[in-house]
Symmetry: C2
């Protein structure tokens, strides 16, 4: 039996999301809980990457996962098999989470005894980019089959992330995807972004993402 | 030189979108203009499918295309090379088009002398499903790399479409995608949907989609 709660998220009542996000970030910092907001299109491999990542990190960090979806539980079932603490958040049709909705999720999950919480945001490159969730760091996955033109089409998303995973690099030979061109387009929008090519299928690059996260969690707790 | 206009779409003032959508549909019917609303995730191949489709249909039907994007013109450049009449719609951050926004696009494009207009909606499986654009028919593309679990995760989108293209079937051998399972999941949500496996790269299945459209346009003009 999978063990996770399903929480129906309520629409936020706060008008100033940036203020709520900053408040939440300060509280998480004080509690030494690192929150990673993970965004992508549907089907880019968020859940598969998370499964591999949790296996890589679970001996070092106590990890919780919040799975945000319109109304399914598919991903929470998958992630609960890693042994991580999981909660399923139902957005009731809403295409993103803001800081207050993220706070509802964290309260539902319970963050005592967790070093890191990962929010798997709703699959969408538009709306989640517009709302600060209060996360410590923002991550995005772009997968090879989606095409190397995505930074041109969804510039806001690419410009707000701290780390970009380019997933499904095991199928690069079968797609017209130019990794260098893609990285150039991303860096033009976001010169400081960390880009890590990965394959959730083969595991390639997941160790580098895990190292980056270990280091960010360390800085979060010291800073 | 590409020849297309760029139109900045204004947020709708109408509260009752369903009413506006029905009005628009009736007007289009009276003018014998068929409107196809094409939806999908980012990177599923809407523009590549359209390019092949237009080449297949352009001797039979006079086609216009409205490219809706947050703020880029990449797809309008591509489509304008097919010779179809093209307009780029900028949604200014909005993640969908409703009926009034679609009407603004149609007015900008100019539908006199067009038999069919195709709206390439914003790449997103959530928001576009919630707004009737006034289209004659709704189409969706799911691509193989996105995974066969997408009907479980985005049920509304799959339940409102008249035709579903499953694109990138040329890469089926490289992905764990079960076509039968996927179709079963879709039919459970939407028993009447027409499902067509296609490959925009090889051209496979595009003729079947073109035939389906020719027939729908004929019914629209007769009905």
């Amino acid at each position: 039996m999978d063990k996770f709660r399903v929480l129906e998220i309520k629409q936020s009542v706060f008008e100033n999301n940036d203020h709520q996000a900053n408040l939440l970030r300060e509280e998480l910092k004080a509690k030494k809980t690192f929150l990673l907001n993970l965004m992508s299109s549907p089907g880019s491999g968020k859940t598969s990457v998370l499964t591999k990542l949790i296996n890589e990190l679970k001996d070092d960090l106590r990890i919780g996962v919040m799975e945000a979806d319109i109304d399914s539980d598919v991903d929470a079932h998958t992630i609960s098999q890693t042994g991580a603490k999981v909660i399923q958040l139902h957005t009731g049709g809403m295409c993103h989470l803001d800081a207050d909705m993220t706070r509802q999720g964290l309260e539902g999950l319970g963050t005592e005894n967790l070093d890191m919480v990962i929010l798997e945001n709703v699959g969408n490159l538009v709306c989640p980019a517009e709302f600060d969730t209060g996360a410590s760091k923002n991550a995005m996955i772009l997968s090879v089959p989606e095409g190397d033109d995505k930074p041109l089409k969804y510039p806001l998303m690419f410009s707000i992330v701290d780390v970009l995973l380019i997933n499904k690099i095991d199928v690069l030979p079968y797609f017209e995807f130019d990794l260098d061109t893609c990285c150039e387009r991303v860096r033009k929008l976001n010169p400081k972004v960390k880009i890590i090519p990965v394959s959730a299928r083969t595991g390639e690059g997941i160790d580098e993402f895990a190292d980056w996260l270990r280091n960010e969690v360390k800085k979060w707790n010291e800073g």
